[in-house]
Amino acid sequence: MSEIQLVELTVNGERHDLAIEPRRTLVDVLRHDIGLTGTHVGCEHGICGACTVLVDGAPVRACLVFAAQVEDADIRTVESLAEPDGTLSDLQREFSAHHGLQCGFCTPGFLMLAEGFLAERPDATKEEIREVVASNLCRCTGYQTIVEAVDACAARRRSG
């Protein structure tokens, strides 16, 4: 075990002071040091996207970032999407309505991917959405319903 470093993270608007090994990845820190287990781990080499979170608004692979690198960034995880009383966000509701999840293991990654992407590209076409959805892997759904859920959410947001 190596030396311990003090790391200060802001996650979902909340500050966390951590004493951790610098080799700890952001996803491990979120899950196991902070206890936000909604973000998942599927590969630890950047391909599956189960670990996708927002760092300063942009979707990022939390398995390819050390927590120490993102001090004083604004980190958002899937736990930030629903209201505190459990009311689901529009994006989450569309995933449910379109059956965009089965086992649900990939879902937090897709939600954060879509959340970050739609914030930047609210006018994205369905084809552009498909291309971005191709960033992450899902083994259950065949993707169609994920694309449809994100597209429906975008359309609904556009129509106000």
């Binding site: 075990m1 190596s2 030396e3 470093q5 090994e21 610098p22 080799r23 990845t25 491990d28 630890e44 080499h45 950047g46 996207g49 996708t52 760092v55 942009a58 979707p59 990022v60 692979r61 398995c63 390819l64 970032v65 050390f66 120490a68 690198q69 991917l113 970050g116 992407f117 930047e120 291309e131 971005v132 191709a134 960033s135 992450n136």
Partner: protein, 271 residues
Amino acid sequence: MKPAAFTYHRARSVSGAVGLLAELGDDAKVIAGGQSLVAMMNFRLARPEHLIDIARIPGLDTIVREGDALRVGALVTHHAVETADLGPDFRVLSEAMRWVGHLPIRTRGTVGGSIAHADATAEWCLLAVLLDARIVVEGPAGRRSIPAEEFFQGVFTTALEPDELIVEVEFPRPAPRATLTEFAERQGDFAIVAAAVDPDAPRVVLGGVAQVPLRVPAAEAVLAAGVAVAEVGEAAAAAIDVRDEPGASAHYRRALTRTLVTRACEEARTR
């Protein structure tokens, strides 16, 4: 798949980073976006004892147009280039970014990191050779600027000294008609073969067929002659020296080269 232990350093300036590199020697590695390095560390294929985070060095994340040239800071992300308005002169840079991994890779991966990592199929490496870029590096002895073609020396090896940092990539001339295209089985993967052409230079550069991004002068000559684009592809395919490898035979790589160079030229001609 957890990385080995290391000590984390945060550099605040280029000279600070260079100083740390010089002081810590072979045990140290720079981390920029981490999109190549962290994956390798998770597999424990890389195990630096010291990691020098350069991401907060001010001034390295800008894209500046200076006359004909475009200067792209080492810390500029793929996604920043993808979404930047570079005008017609350098649109090839923005367009090529869609081939680099996926959005969440592009939001963190950097131009400097790609060039330093020097994967022979990496889009940035091809673009640097295609556009005669100069890689601006800084070491204890100060700055120097290395032509891209000399920078890439072999499989993941470059002209960069261990105590040097890439600070900027300078693209000296506009390339409004340049294009890049590639083929992989799956979106976002590193290409089996990638082809980039700039009819105005003229330049034909290939990825995936050599240990470095490869200029093909024979094909450039045909391109300059302004004959049918298929002949450029043919010339490129004939010129390369490839071996059979698991996953792709020499014959197939040559065929992909022919197709992709031809298609890149076709695309360029429409501009």
